[in-house]
Amino acid sequence: MSEIPNSFTLDGQLVPFEPGQTILQAALAAGHYIPHLCSSPELKPHGSCKLCTVVVNGRHGSACTAHAMPGQDVQSDTPDLNGKRRLQVQMLFVEGNHFCPGCEKSGNCKLQAVAYDLEMLNPHFPHFFPQRPVDASHPDILLDRNRCIMCEQCVEASRDIDGKEVFGLAGRGLASHLVVNSPSGLLGDSALEAGDKAANICPVGAIVHKRVGYAKPIGARDYDTLGIRAQARAAAEGEGP
């Protein structure tokens, strides 16, 4: 009996995987970028942003939660899926207040980098311009909910890595918002410390460190030269055999 090789095809290319890996993990390890926002290698995937949606053997699924299986046929970089991803990203932009020209995360922001990758030229939908409070009470960390995309990475990191449960999501649908676990509801009264994983994992400019904004000049920021897709490829090559 011959062994079934641990590999699947992604957009027609053979991708090897280790048993237990998700499609996203295997794809990234092989240098193939699949747009994603709410998953991070340090956290358990929970599949909330749906940006990583791929078509596996004809059915839609999240690449960050679906396990890689031998012989799968995975479609990701297709005009149809990328068009839908672009719409999702546009919705994220209009749902919050994203003023990139003045944002200290600009150039280092994953939402922006994914939008560049998907060639998003405008936010398309009417802006909500919601009213969302900024919390500057913490000595080292600023929480700007205007830029929060509710990916829950800070929630998970605080709970599972820092063991603190500083953040949580409250409300439903349009009323969803990030809440802070402290007597006053303010970050300054919470157990959050600047070195915590939760203070360093936000993919956008919602949780940022004070006094270091704009420290990296334009041209030297994370995504100024290499886009997010090219960086995924470079990272895999750097770690490869």
């Binding site: 003023f99 150039g107 405008n122 802006h127 311009f129 886009g227």
Partner: protein, 192 residues
């Protein structure tokens, strides 16, 4: 950087017809127009392909029938609405030019505030002469909120960036002039 640009659809004997281009800054900082000047010597190439109608460059006050309209800035007062509608009705192709026109930009940061409170804070609550909110028929009224231009009229194309670089403008304009589907990719595509 030089890009070869095919001439726009030429008439039988008259040689290539120049495209008519109009530009305006609504609630913007004129940074996008400054970036247009960053085309540097390519401006000479552009001048062979286009002729400017209403624009800060020509100081023509009203826009006639045009092929391309470039709008910088967001829509913040009643005058902006009039200018924008004039452009839409006279331009075959309307382009939102820069972050403010595309997404509201910095002027839209006032959208979280009440416009009456803003005026009061600026004109009444400060020490100094006056103490009255300016009120003259010559002054356009502020809108309740600041809008990206595509939330007021239909817009055909978008060039984001604060401001878009001269290279991005050149790439986009030459695509449009040549009749190609305009395309901007990273790193020319930027929101800041």
């Amino acid at each position: 950087m030089t890009v070869s640009v095919p001439a726009p659809h030429s008439g039988p004997a008259a040689g290539p017809r120049k495209l008519k281009v109009a530009t305006a800054s609504l609630s913007g900082c004129f940074g996008c127009h400054m970036s247009l000047l960053d085309l540097d010597e390519r401006l000479l190439q552009l001048a062979e392909l286009v002729e400017f109608d209403r624009s800060p460059i020509t100081d023509i006050k009203h826009c006639g029938p045009c092929d391309v309209g470039l709008i910088e800035g967001s829509v913040c007062n009643s005058e902006n609405v009039h200018v924008l509608r004039e452009f839409r009705s006279h331009c075959k192709v309307l382009i939102a030019f820069g972050a403010c026109a595309v997404a509201g930009g910095l002027p839209a940061m006032r959208n979280g505030l009440d416009v009456g409170d803003c005026l009061k804070e600026i004109y009444c609550d400060r020490v100094g002469p006056g103490g009255l909110i300016p009120n003259d028929r010559e002054l356009p009224l502020l809108l309740d909120k600041v809008y990206p231009i595509n939330e007021v009229v239909r817009v055909d194309y978008f060039i984001p960036g604060c401001p878009p670089s001269g290279d991005a403008i050149w790439k986009y304009l030459t695509d449009v002039i040549a009749g190609r589907m305009p395309r901007l990719e990273h790193p020319m595509l930027r929101y800041d």
